[in-house]
């Protein structure tokens, strides 16, 4: 590997670590506005990583993807989320199902687990960015964990968005991004999915007077 490749590898790993760290910061914070802020910074870090990969791999499509990421996940979606939690109320996340210290330790374990399961991928890949792949899969697992362990519907949506970020990072590190058409389709789907979830949260608020998912337990076996 020449010097350029080594620099590329280091910077890419640095970018992915930053993305993962903001995901872990999500587990540490309590208030919904902090969640949205962590997600915003994470998406920004992700967009910068995309741009970085685009620069080093001479793949200019990734610049477009980075710009769309910034517009969609740093500006539009957090804007909607902020408006959502201001209208729906409840600035604090109630005590989550798994307390914060345990969540953090579980996150550490999940990242170690992802290192174990992605060994074949790292060994097979010849790209300089391959060292960041375990971090991306770790972020995916952390996203799922956030969905499972949080009580407010809004936090679950943010967990889902973090999951999507993890998958996008995986695509960037593993394959230098998927074809642009597909990427656009994915963005559209994510945006629409988010909008529908937002609609549903408003409906939950209207019918249940609260967005604590503890109330969503009428449908038992």
């Amino acid at each position: 590997m020449n010097v350029n490749d080594m620099l590329f590898a280091q910077l890419a790993t640095l970018g992915s670590s930053l993305v993962l760290l903001f995901g872990i910061a999500l587990l540490w914070r309590r208030s919904l506005s902090a969640y949205v802020r962590a997600f915003r910074w994470q998406s920004l870090a992700l967009a910068l990583t995309f741009a970085l990969i685009g620069y080093f791999s001479h793949n200019h499509e990734l610049y477009i993807v980075a710009i769309i990421l910034v517009v969609l996940k740093v500006i539009i979606i957090p804007g909607y989320l902020t408006r959502l939690y201001e209208r729906v109320g409840g600035r604090r996340e109630a005590q989550p199902y798994v307390n914060i210290v345990t969540s953090l330790i579980v996150a550490g374990l999940l990242v170690s687990l992802s290192y174990a399961i992605t060994r074949p991928l790292v060994m097979v890949s010849k790209l300089p960015t391959r060292n960041g792949i375990p971090l991306a899969v770790g972020l995916i697992l952390i996203g799922i964990f956030v969905i499972i362990s949080r009580r407010k519907a809004l936090s679950q949506i943010i967990g889902f968005l973090v999951l999507e970020n993890g998958i996008a990072l995986l695509a960037a590190l593993g394959t230098y991004g998927i074809p642009l058409i597909v990427e656009l389709g994915v963005f559209l789907d994510v945006l629409m999915g988010f909008l529908v979830m937002q609609i549903l949260v408003y409906q939950i608020k209207d019918t249940f007077e609260s967005i604590d998912v503890e109330h969503l337990s009428q449908l038992k076996h």
Binding site: I117, T118, P120, L121, V124, S125, K126, L127, I140, I144, I147, A153, Q156, F160, L163, E164, I167, L170, A171, G174, T175, Y176, I178, P179, V182, G185, V186, L188, D189, M192, G193, V196, M197, I199, L200, Q203, I204, D206, T207, F208, V213, L216, S217, Q218, L219, H221
Partner: protein, 494 residues
């Protein structure tokens, strides 16, 4: 010559456009008029015709058709079979929709939203089965999640909002994981041959599969099975099913339980073929068998414990999903049986949810205890419901018996006696519980406040037709269907 080719390719447009145009029409016509419902139902006949044309083309040995820039759409035998399933279920649904020839207590705004969303839902399902690229297939499946989630909350009741929230959260996570699996499949391709624009086209993936790394494909297939399995309702990712099917409007429940589940199985099958070519041992088969058995077990016990007939039907769906997964993991004969079972199940389930909806409207509740005396209160509905439930339980002369029999024969031929024995036992448990629940509903006296008499009217006819199809499939295997299934088996076992 060119003229004919063009018409051949126009079939794709004929398949996809009617539902899109129907949705557009429902959106543009304000306020909603009953004519829109009728028009949409008639347009869906065009889709059905196109699907049948594809099927006959494939059954007569024609090779796969492609259409569109970059070969966007492609139809081989597997796609054709699923197109027919989806289009037939959609036509039935649109004809039996609320507001089409019957009075309904939905408001006009709700009916308009219903027509818009259900046609978009049908459009995305048809796109998913006719897409060439696995990525487009993924996009279409995600779209189905979005449209169906919006439709479940048509009546904005507490339980429907709760069901829809659980559904969209679980399904979106599942679909996201399926996307991760897709990326991993593409990853291996890139690691081998570098990026390519058409790399995500299924034939290209299949072609390059033997050279791909087995460990990567194994990881990718696990993600894909979990992801698309969530959409199909394979245990343990099935928890959204009873809630969603129980709370959705009956036409949507019918469509979801018959077609959406079939499309998810289609996605799994497409990827299974690629994974098998790469992995070269029976890894995918073992995974499918394990999950199939788990689904059967969980479904069996849940059916025993059900107190709500709609949720009971949902668990029966999980059971049949388990059987189909089983079949897919049992080699060529198993795949044949599984796909035959898919066709039968599509027919039976779509009927059942309509009937369940009618019963609920009559009795005002979907609890089994509160719906006795069906035969006395509504003999036709009760009779059809009983017939359908017996079909789902796997009794002859209905088609499901034949496909289950074929499945077990394949299983024993593949030397899995213990597995098949366990499956038989679980099926027996389901059978007994379904009959018990049915008896509670059919016999006895209806509560005094329930009006005696049919409310379905002419709608009995299409449902009777569906039942006759089931009987026909149980007595004979029509030659075109057999040819189609054999071709699919050939594709899958390459």
């Amino acid at each position: 010559m060119i003229h004919w080719e063009l018409i051949e390719r126009m079939k794709f447009l004929l398949l996809l456009l009617p539902s899109f145009v129907s949705a557009l029409g429902a959106y543009l016509v304000r306020p909603y008029r009953a004519m829109v419902g009728w028009l949409n139902a008639l347009l869906s006949l065009l889709s059905l015709g196109a699907a049948l044309a594809f099927a006959s083309h494939a059954a007569h040995g024609g090779e796969a058709l492609v259409f569109g820039p970059g070969e966007l759409l492609r139809a081989d035998s597997l796609s054709a079979l699923l197109m027919v399933c989806v289009a037939a279920a959609s036509t039935l649904t649109l004809f039996l929709s609320p507001g089409v020839g019957t009075e309904t207590n939905y408001m006009q705004a709700q009916l308009r939203r219903y027509q818009l969303l259900i046609n978009l839902f049908i459009f995305s399902m048809l796109l998913a089965v006719s897409a060439n690229s696995v990525a487009i297939m993924w996009v279409a499946l995600e779209a189905t999640t979005i449209f169906s989630a919006l439709l479940i909350t048509l009546t904005r009741s507490k339980t429907s909002v709760e069901a829809s929230w659980k559904y969209i959260l679980i399904s979106s996570v599942g679909i996201a994981l399926a996307f991760a699996g897709t990326v991993l499949g593409y990853f291996d391709f890139v690691a081998l041959t570098g990026r390519a624009e058409n790399a995500l086209n299924w034939p290209v993936l299949l072609q390059n599969a033997p050279a791909m790394h087995p460990e990567v494909m194994k990881l990718a297939f696990v993600f894909l099975l979990v992801g698309y399995g969530t959409k199909a309702g394979i245990a343990p990712m099935h928890t959204w099913k009873p809630d969603a099917y129980g709370e959705a409007p009956p036409p949507l429940a019918a469509l979801m339980s018959s077609s959406l589940f079939a499309v998810a199985i289609y996605a799994i099958l497409r990827w299974k073929v690629v994974a098998d070519a790469a992995i070269k041992d029976h890894y995918t088969d073992s995974l499918l068998l394990a999950l199939g058995l788990a689904s059967l077990a969980i479904a069996a016990f849940s059916v025993v414990l059900s107190r709500n007939y709609k949720r009971m039907l949902a668990y029966s769906s999980v059971e049949h999903t388990g059987l189909i997964c089983f079949g897919l993991g049992l080699g060529a004969a198993g795949v044949f049986a599984a796909l035959l079972h898919l066709v039968n199940h599509t027919t039976a389930k779509s009927l059942m949810f309509f009937l369940a909806g009618d019963i609920e409207r009559k009795y005002g509740s979907s609890a089994i205890k509160q719906a006795p005396g069906l035969l006395k209160a509504a003999p036709w509905t009760g009779g059809l419901f009983a017939a359908g439930l017996l079909a789902l339980a796997g009794l002859p002369p209905f088609g499901l018996f034949i496909s289950e029999f074929a499945l077990f024969r394949a299983g024993f031929a593949q030397h899995h006696p213990w597995l098949m024995g366990a499956a038989l036992l679980l099926l027996l448990v389901v059978f007994v519980s379904l009959i018990t629940h049915l008896n509670r509903m059919l016999y006895g006296d209806a509560p005094a406040e329930i009006a005696v008499g049919e409310t379905v009217g002419w709608r009995v006819a299409p449902m009777l037709l569906g039942l006759l199809v089931l009987v026909a499939l149980g007595l004979t295997l029509p030659a075109p269907l057999e040819t189609l299934l054999n071709q699919i088996v050939r594709i899958v076992s390459r």
